[in-house]
């Protein structure tokens, strides 16, 4: 079974600074996908960024980027120029590469607080 571990229950960062959230996972699969989701206090889960395991290049989406280390099974999220609206719970998630039924396995989450 796959497991996802987020070792930082809470993080805080000053507005405009950079913060990195950690995630490690355990799997015997060779093909899979990794995601970071954001869940603000309003509770709607929003996809932030995704990474295909077969791609060596790290994914980037505007201020969000990942550091994907496949051998180390590590998938960290870097948020640059942090904004107050980035305050949320962030979940790292794993998905097997299957034709269908590709459910997400989530970590326990990291609460990120951006301070002004």
């Amino acid at each position: 079974a796959q497991t996802v571990t987020q070792s930082q229950p809470e993080m805080s960062v000053q507005e405009a600074e950079t913060v990195t959230l950690s995630c490690t996972y355990d799997t015997s699969e060779s093909n899979y996908y990794l995601f970071w989701y954001k869940q603000p206090p309003s509770r709607q889960m929003i996809l932030v960024i995704r990474q295909e395991a077969y791609k060596q290049q790290n994914a980037t989406e505007n201020r969000f980027s990942v550091n994907f280390q496949k051998a180390a099974k590590s998938f960290s999220l870097k948020i640059s120029d942090s904004q107050l609206g980035d305050t949320a719970m962030y979940f790292c998630a794993f998905m097997k590469q299957r034709e269908y039924g590709n459910k997400l396995v989530f970590g326990a989450g990291t609460i990120l607080r951006v301070k002004s």
């Binding site: 509770r43 979940f91 998905m95 269908y100 590709n102 989530f106």
Partner: protein
Amino acid sequence: GAGVSQSPRYKVAKRGQDVALRCDPISGHVSLFWYQQALGQGPEFLTYFQNEAQLDKSGLPSDRFFAERPEGSVSTLKIQRTQQEDSAVYLCASSFQGLAGGGYEQYFGPGTRLTVT
């Protein structure tokens, strides 16, 4: 539709009552997932539909939990004889289809917060 919608947003049930939670996925999305999220935790998979077929129900915690998607669009998660441990947020997610055509990203609804007293 703009996104995945769920109703009700909040539900309070007395222990022993039956509840029904509704999910309206994004129009045209083939795959539909239900997750359970306990307070302060990550979501956990409950069940999966491809169109109207329930292909995976391995995450349902007991036989009190039942889900259906009879016409391949709207889905209902039913919990019979609710218990306090059923208190959680129930999230629905949909995706366009499986991997062959891409579109494997899951889009989530706002969830239903169930409180069992």
